[in-house]
Amino acid sequence: MHEEYFKFTERITARGINLGGEALAGVETATTVQVRDGRTLTTDGPFAETKEILGGFYLIEAADLDAAVAVAAEIPGSWSGSVEVRPLWDWQNGKMAE
């Protein structure tokens, strides 16, 4: 599996669409923070509702959703689990990035 991820990262880097990304440590290291009425509540574990676990993310450049989906389908995690594709929020214009 590591080998496959390595190959994938190499491929998207070679295509010049790899803008970054990180792997996350396991959910047993997760801490959830909520601020309510000015008080910070810190609890252990991921969000209680979390059914699927975010293992990491890639930031890629894609012309449109179909292109992004094609890249997502190359991520080994999508072969057994799932990959969620989302556009970046464009802070300057207060809308989705083009």
Binding site: A62, A63, D64, L65, D66, A67, A68, V69, V85, R86, P87, K95, M96
Partner: protein, 406 residues
């Protein structure tokens, strides 16, 4: 031909094409639709006196483009967009007159694939397709699917926002994506047809206008992708079913009780020809098989002479491609008719886990129990089917069947 109804027909036919072309020009669904509406309004004031132009689609497109430019011009901050748009349009208008509409077909295809993109919820795909390609108003779609116009309008707004924000492309899918994406398009058309053919809720069993819309959309896709056998298969299927509409009018009428002289023979022949063209391509698929099954029913002079052996074989094949409980249920009925009621009953009973809440499971069981003269069990099964259905026409039919028994 300047009466209102004739103009209405032209709009229905041309609206999707006009919007599709405009979306490519202006890159914005809402602006394209607003401009198309402006063009329709202009036509409504002009055509009654001048008559419908020779190429109404081109007239509407040209007018709508001008209206789109007007609309953009009115918004000062769109100056940049305007010059870009004018540049693109004038580049395209070089050496081209209004009666030739090049690229229109591709525009329509792009729009179909955008509206039926799998990243949109299926209900949103249906609503967008009917709105932008079918030319139906939000109110008409809401009425057909028995939701409020507000809910439907929100659904459409959200879908358009997702198209823009998630970057759903406005393009024809490549070869390797084509089968999956075409399947999504055909599913949407078939869903529209099914809602018209056997309404799941409401009073009328058949909402014919939706069937007509689905058939019209299917025709467009087939004109745009003439080499796809499954497109032809779906068209044949819808037309074969629709040819029986008069024999099914006024409520649910079982195939065995339908007046076959009320079936539209000419439409059946035309649909059968479509199916033959599809089969000749040698790439079978679920729609072609369903059409073949329907064609066998259409070809039988009466219920007794139906070729159930052939139908059963086709269902075997369909089930291997589409192993769904509903296909299995229909196959069970074919087994009962081809091999014997008991055999069919065994197959049906094995499906209980997946279909316990499906009214047609219980009504099919009831009909077989009737044939086996197990009247008490049939009564219970009919009652269960009645309890599970939300369509008043279907419920009335099942109640009549039950009343005949008791």
């Amino acid at each position: 031909m300047t009466d209102h109804a004739a103009i209405e027909r032209v709009f229905r036919l041309e609206y999707g094409r006009v919007v599709a072309t405009l979306i490519r020009h202006v890159g914005d669904f809402d602006l394209a639709e607003d401009a198309a509406q402006d063009a329709v309004t202009a036509a409504l004031t002009k055509w009654p006196s001048t008559g419908v132009p020779r190429n109404p689609g081109a007239w509407l497109t040209t007018t709508a483009r001008r209206k789109a430019i007007d609309r953009i011009r009115r918004r000062v901050n769109y100056e940049r967009k305007l010059s870009e748009l004018e540049r693109r349009i004038s580049a395209e208008d070089q050496g081209q007159d209004d009666t030739v509409a090049t690229g229109v077909d591709d525009d329509q295809l792009r729009l179909i694939f955008t509206c039926c993109h799998p990243a949109l919820a299926v209900e949103a795909q249906v609503a967008l397709t009917l709105k932008t390609l079918g030319g139906l108003s939000t109110e008409e779609i809401a009425r057909a699917f028995l939701t409020s116009a507000t809910t439907l309008a929100q659904r459409i707004v959200r879908a358009k926002r997702k198209i823009h924000d998630a970057g759903i492309p406005y393009r024809i899918p490549g070869k390797d994506e084509m089968p999956e994406r075409l399947d999504a398009v055909l599913t949407v058309i078939y869903l529209i047809f099914n809602e018209g053919y056997a309404a799941t809720t409401g009073e009328d069993v058949i909402r014919s206008a939706l069937c007509d819309d689905a058939i019209r959309l299917g025709g467009s896709v087939s004109r745009l992708l003439p080499a796809e056998p499954e497109v032809l298969g779906l068209n044949a299927l819808m037309q074969l079913i629709h040819a029986r509409r008069e024999a099914r009018a006024g409520g649910v009428v079982l195939l065995q009780d339908q007046d076959r002289s009320a079936w539209r023979r000419d439409e059946i022949d035309a649909a059968s020809a479509l199916l033959q063209r599809a089969v000749a391509a040698g790439r079978p698929g679920p729609y072609q098989i369903q059409a073949a099954i329907t064609a066998l029913h259409a070809d039988a002079a009466d219920f007794a002479s139906t070729d159930w052996d052939q139908i059963r074989l086709l269902y075997d094949r369909l089930l291997s491609m589409h192993p769904t409980p509903v296909v299995a249920l229909n196959r069970a009925v074919a087994v009962a008719m081809a091999d014997g009621i008991e055999q069919g009953m065994d197959v049906i009973d094995a499906l209980k886990d997946g279909l316990g809440d499906y009214p047609w499971f219980h009504s099919a069981r009831a009909e077989l129990l009737l044939r086996m003269e197990r009247y008490e069990e049939a009564t219970v099964a009919f009652q269960r089917a009645i309890d599970l259905t939300n369509n008043q026409g279907t419920r009335a039919f099942l109640s009549t069947r039950l009343a005949e028994l008791t």
